[in-house]
């Protein structure tokens, strides 16, 4: 028996976007010594997320591609309200996250779930599969106090392809792929509408990755879920995402339909990523690293474009103005790029 009808997010499906993030910023201040604090030296910030905007439509899988330092994990945590943002708006079904009190937040959690990268540490090591899943059911009043939850469990097992003889096992008795399925089942147990998947296949063997990706697509199709799929792996994202956004040092540098972005990448970073992507094919044997210079990522970047220190196409104006996302062609309306120089505008593929 659902007890929160009044706060059930968007029962009539009126909101245009399931998730809308506008100019999100999350900065972490670097710890200063007592001395510097006394001297009132202004604090330095790590701009983990520095003005990110995107929209997620109903039933859509949006791929977020970023490497280390891109801010993708911080973005995920802020989006799921595990951390507070410093600036910017997050709207779920048109409802502002900041306007929700703790009760509203608790209700929101029924619509929004997250699956983490490491399936081993994201499951409670001391609970069996059955206990972990039934607990969710009981907390969210899907199951009564004395309900064994048999139907509940078998539905979740069916959805995630788990066999029922795993229900009494603890995480350490499961394989990586099975654990990740349990984590997905647990997220599905609250019947969410939006799922944020943070590198969910990165820790799995290749032969298992494809199983989980197929599962994700099936779930999206069956339950009409919307997903934010975060990964550093271009191939993985290209297999599941309808649209992609590429992040670099806290900002989105390129976004658009997956096909458009990967067939005619415009941002130098996107091209570097594509160039560096290796697959077991004879063609990939000839690749080499010409697309970027080797400047370490942890150098503080002064102004303008964050990628300028590594970009071989960088010009003087790149350090002056922060680039903003702009549409490049009316043929691809969703395809936007944040680059002053746009060196590839008149060529399509590499």
């Amino acid at each position: 028996m659902k007890r929160f009808n009044s706060l059930d997010f968007d029962p009539n499906h009126t909101a245009e976007f399931v998730l809308e993030v506008t100019d999100l910023k999350k900065w972490f201040s670097v710890r200063r010594s007592i001395f510097k604090k006394l001297m009132r030296t202004p604090p330095r910030f790590t701009k983990a997320v520095d003005g990110v905007s995107f929209k997620l439509e109903r039933g859509e899988i949006l791929g977020l591609i970023g490497e280390s330092g891109s801010g993708k994990s911080t973005l995920a945590r802020t989006a799921i309200a595990l951390e507070k943002s410093d600036e910017g708006k997050i709207l779920y079904f048109g409802q502002d996250l900041d306007d929700l009190g703790p009760i509203g937040l608790r209700e929101l959690r029924r619509s929004l779930q997250m699956i983490f990268q490491d399936p081993f540490t994201s499951l409670n090591p001391k609970m069996t599969v059955k206990q972990a899943l039934v607990e969710v059911g009981k907390v969210h009043k899907e199951l009564g106090k004395n309900d064994e939850g048999t139907a509940f469990l078998s539905e979740l097992f069916r959805l995630t392809g788990l066999s029922s003889d795993l229900s009494l096992r603890k995480p350490r008795e499961l394989s990586g792929g099975q654990r990740q399925r349990v984590a997905i089942a647990r997220a599905l147990a609250v019947r969410p509408k939006v799922i944020i998947a943070d590198e969910i296949v990165s820790a799995l063997d290749v032969s298992i990755q494809a199983q989980i990706l197929n599962l994700l697509i099936d779930l999206r199709n069956e339950l009409n879920l919307s997903m934010l799929f975060i990964s550093h792996d271009l191939a993985v994202v290209s297999q599941v995402a309808d649209r992609v956004a590429i992040m670099y040092m806290g900002r989105v540098v390129e976004e658009g339909k997956t096909h458009d972005v990967f067939s005619s990448p415009q941002h130098p970073y996107t091209r570097a990523l594509l160039n560096a992507h290796l697959e077991p094919s004879v063609i990939h044997r000839e690749k080499n690293s010409t697309e970027m210079t080797d400047t370490p990522l942890n150098l503080p970047v002064s102004g303008g474009c964050n990628f300028k220190n590594r970009c071989i196409y960088a010009k003087h104006e790149c350090g002056l103005v922060d680039p903003i996302l702009r549409q490049i062609s009316p043929n691809e309306p969703a395809h936007q790029v944040a680059c002053q120089v746009m060196p590839f505008l008149n060529s399509s593929k590499n």
């Binding site: 490497e67 280390s68 394989s175 990586g176 792929g177 099975q178 063997d205 290749v206 032969s207 298992i208 990755q209 494809a210 199983q211 990706l213 197929n214 697509i217 550093h232 792996d233 271009l234 191939a235 993985v236 290209s238 297999q239 599941v240 339909k257 997956t258 096909h259 990967f262 067939s263 570097a272 990523l273 594509l274 160039n275 560096a276 992507h277 290796l278 697959e279 077991p280 094919s281 004879v282 990939h284 044997r285 690749k287 080499n288 690293s289 697309e291 970027m292 080797d294 400047t295 370490p296 990522l297 942890n298």
Partner: protein, 332 residues
């Protein structure tokens, strides 16, 4: 026995029928089952496999770094014609410091955080007798330049935590190269690096091979990286080598069902707007304590036959230098 028939290259390393096992409850569990492999002078040989395949143990057994209580049960490891299994500690130390270098996956935990990278390099150079104290600092700077680290004369005063992951890995390579080894063992050296940095490190290793003629044994789970780097590849599964061939041959004409399944299961960059189901391998990789009899891939193999549970898993020559342990599927 597998060896490179290429007469130009001398054989630097040859692993013969190596078996490594771990004792468990009065039994010996084999994690490496009689593997045979060879690396020629100036060759880059790759070992690819998923978790539990035994690839890490294989490369660690060469320099005696098998974690206890594992041990070599039988077999030989011939390095420059001499069996290096069972040599005494002193000889092992010399081997590790002058002949064989090793780089690991996580440069963060492999570099001592208490020492500057200059200290580490100088220590390595002096202790192995490669350089005198007076010249060690200069040599260190040269080495860092060689591995592409910018501003080496400033960097030698830095501590590992002041460098990025890619830079640390370059330092690791410099340390491994310090004593001009003839063989470099690389155990997942780029796995924890960003993909753009990974490409640079791989290029660096390829250039080093070209310049110095050193051989590399490259272990990875990433088939794409292996394809880029290696002249020859050994595919491992369940503690066995199931296929061994030149990279070209394996990519064009994979023989073993596992190799074929592995290559097709790797997610590929696709421009299809239609969502096509990815090909998967049903089931999970086996644990070494629970290997099926005969071919370990049997339970997951679509071409399985009843005779597969009695298979001896010997590598048979299919064609040229292409070897496979599967008698069922042959298409060369």
């Amino acid at each position: 026995m597998v060896s490179s028939n290429d007469r130009r290259t001398e054989e630097l390393l040859r692993i013969e029928d190596l078996v490594v096992s771990f004792p468990k409850e009065n039994m010996e569990i084999a994690v490496l089952n009689s593997i045979n492999l060879s690396v020629g002078q100036g060759e880059i040989v790759g070992i690819v496999g998923e978790s539990g395949s035994g690839k890490s143990i294989a490369c660690r057994s060469i320099i005696g770094l098998i974690p206890k209580p594992g041990r070599v049960s039988s077999g030989k490891i011939m390095f420059k014609g001499k069996n290096i299994l069972g040599i005494n500690k002193a000889e092992e130390r010399i081997l590790r410091s002058t002949q064989i270098g090793m780089i690991f996956q996580d440069p963060t935990s492999s570099l001592n955080p208490v020492f500057t990278i200059g200290d580490e390099l100088v220590k390595t150079l002096v202790n192995s007798g490669t350089s005198s104290k007076n010249h060690a600092v200069q040599k260190s700077i040269e080495l860092l330049e060689r591995v592409g680290l910018q501003n080496p004369s400033e960097r030698i005063f830095m501590y590992p935590h002041e460098l990025s992951g890619g830079q640390r890995q370059r330092v690791m390579i410099a340390l491994a190269l310090a004593c001009k080894p003839s063989l470099l063992i690389a155990d997942e050296p780029t796995t924890s690096l960003d993909v753009t940095i990974q490409l640079q490190i791989l290029d660096l290793l390829l250039n080093l091979r070209k310049e110095t003629g050193m051989s590399i044994l490259f272990v990875s789970h990433d088939m794409g990286v292996i394809s880029r780097m290696c002249d020859k590849v050994a595919v491992m599964y369940g503690g066995y080598i199931v296929e061994f061939a030149t990279t070209d041959s394996i990519l064009r004409f994979p023989q073993h069902p596992y190799t074929k399944a592995l290559i097709s299961a790797v997610p590929k960059l696709t421009l299809d707007t239609q969502r096509v189901r990815l090909s998967t391998i049903l089931g999970e990789p086996p644990k070494s304590s629970n290997l099926p009899s005969g071919c370990p891939f049997g339970p997951r193999c679509t071409s399985r036959q009843t005779s597969c549970s009695d298979l001896s898993m010997k590598l048979e020559l299919v064609s040229g230098v292409h070897f496979s342990a599967c008698p069922v599927e042959r298409s060369l």
